[in-house]
């Protein structure tokens, strides 16, 4: 990165791109704002958790650190992807890299959480205690964000299969005008679909594995079962909400790319041999494209809303989180 007069220039694969100072400041300010908001929410969430013992404080810090690292890396990748695409300073040539960036952000969140659970403090002391109650993924994972993970991934894979079958080429649709044809892309055909679909499925499987790690990690010593369960649910909430967001982004991206191509297949005119204009294309394609683009926006907004909207968990015959918290 270097400065050229009133511009900030960045090296990219195809050379370099320069943007104005104002644009750069707005972009960097937005990134800082997003990261600060994410950090603020996570730290606030951690601090409002009462810690009845030293072991509880340590466990709370450990869980918070895993979430903070994962969410900050995820937010950094997403803001870099969105900012780079908007400003045109994308350092990648292959569209598949852009398509996989949301999933990469989700995987970074999962890796951070997995490391956090695998390095969880082991029980120590001569006398060890344990609750004789069964603990499953369903007990720790919030129900509807977990369902959303499956829903977005299922929708995304289904759309990719449909677009793959509809596409005229691996990544294009063909626009025909009499004897002339023109390939229009990028369209989410098999060239993108196989890779994106596979990564979506892998992300869902990895999410379930990380939720399993959260359910199976050693219990915090010297606290009630409810307090321990609360900490597990907090980690599971961060995982499921983050992953549903990246899967929603991927699905929205697929819809948007397909919608733009279908819009291009709408009515258009070329100059005829005998003067005047000849119309080609179908209005239905344009309507379909516009519908897909609007659907992409809806999916994107839903993904963002479901990430931040608080949810009241239905009590499953369990006591309130801190009602019976005890010190060791």
């Amino acid at each position: 990165m270097w400065f050229d007069g009133g511009n900030v220039c960045v090296s990219v694969t195809a050379g370099y791109v320069c943007v104005s100072w104002v644009t750069a400041v707005i972009y960097l300010g937005a990134v800082a704002l997003v990261l600060a908001a994410v950090l603020g929410v996570l730290v606030w969430d951690a601090r409002r958790t009462p810690t009845p013992s030293q072991a509880a404080s340590r466990a709370n810090r450990h869980a918070t650190l895993a979430s903070v690292v994962g969410v900050v890396v995820m937010a950094s990748i997403l803001t870099w992807m969105i900012g780079g695409s908007v400003l045109g300073v994308v350092p990648w040539r292959d569209g598949r890299v852009l398509a996989l960036l949301p999933a990469l952000a989700g995987v970074s969140l999962l890796v951070a959480q997995a490391i956090g659970q695998l390095t969880w403090p082991q029980p120590s002391g001569v006398v060890r205690e344990a609750e004789l109650t069964r603990r499953a993924v369903a007990d720790v994972a919030p129900a509807w964000p977990r369902r959303l993970v499956f829903a977005w991934a299922g929708t995304g894979v289904l759309l990719l299969v449909i677009f793959g079958l509809v596409a005229d080429g691996p990544r294009t649709m063909i626009r025909r005008a009499g004897q002339y044809t023109q390939a229009i892309g990028p369209y989410p055909g098999w060239y993108y679909g196989v890779l994106i679909g596979s990564v979506m499925v892998i992300t869902v499987v990895a999410t379930e594995l990380v939720l399993r790690l959260i359910a199976l990690r050693p219990a915090v010593v010297g606290v009630s079962a409810e307090w321990d369960l609360h900490l597990r649910r907090r980690s599971a909430k961060h995982v499921t909400r983050g992953v549903q967001l990246v899967l929603a982004l991927t699905t929205a991206g697929v819809l948007y790319a397909a919608g733009r191509v279908h819009q291009s297949l709408g009515p258009w005119w070329i100059e005829g041999d005998a003067g005047g204009h000849v119309a080609f294309g179908s209005p239905a394609q344009q309507y379909l494209g516009t519908g897909l683009v609007m659907l992409a926006v809806v999916v994107l907004v839903m993904g963002l809303v479901f990430t931040v909207v608080p949810v009241r968990r239905r009590q499953r015959n369990r006591t309130a989180p801190f009602a019976v918290a005890v010190a060791s």
């Binding site: 029980p123 120590s124 006398v127 609750e131 004789l132 199976l216 050693p218």
Partner: protein, 130 residues
């Protein structure tokens, strides 16, 4: 409902788990159909090897207290014993020991010695008089 394992005790860890879970079943704290935590979960919470917990569960299964089924995990099968005279006497013994300040381990020693005396009384004389 908690169980504890004393790592410094001479009693094997699996035996400590078996005895406590067995006692909870006998006392009715765990009833038929209750699901025990998985071997991995209990081992992780206690910070001991999974094989130790698995052995305790096997011993409980051999005694007919629990059964392990695929997908369902380990489930309590033994019906809770009806509160009979022996159970009342056992409770009375514990209450008396508490008032006399006798420790839990000494109470267990008392019961063991009574069991040994009973076994000796019924053993063949050739064994008692070598």
């Amino acid at each position: 409902m908690r169980i504890a394992v004393d790592l410094s005790s001479t009693t094997p860890h699996y035996e400590q788990i078996r005895a406590q879970v067995g006692a909870l079943i006998t006392a009715g704290a765990l009833s038929e159909g209750d699901r025990l935590p998985t071997v991995r979960t209990l081992a992780a919470d206690l910070g001991i090897a999974a094989g130790t917990v698995a052995r305790a569960y096997r011993e409980l299964e051999a005694a007919g207290h629990v059964t392990t089924r695929r997908r369902f995990g380990t489930v309590v099968t033994a019906p809770t014993r009806a509160a009979g005279r022996s159970q009342d006497i056992a409770r009375h013994l514990v209450a008396t020991a508490r008032t006399e300040g006798i420790s839990d381990s000494d109470v267990l020693d008392l019961v063991r010695s009574a069991l040994l005396a009973e076994a000796s009384a019924h053993a063949p004389s050739a064994v008692l008089q070598p």
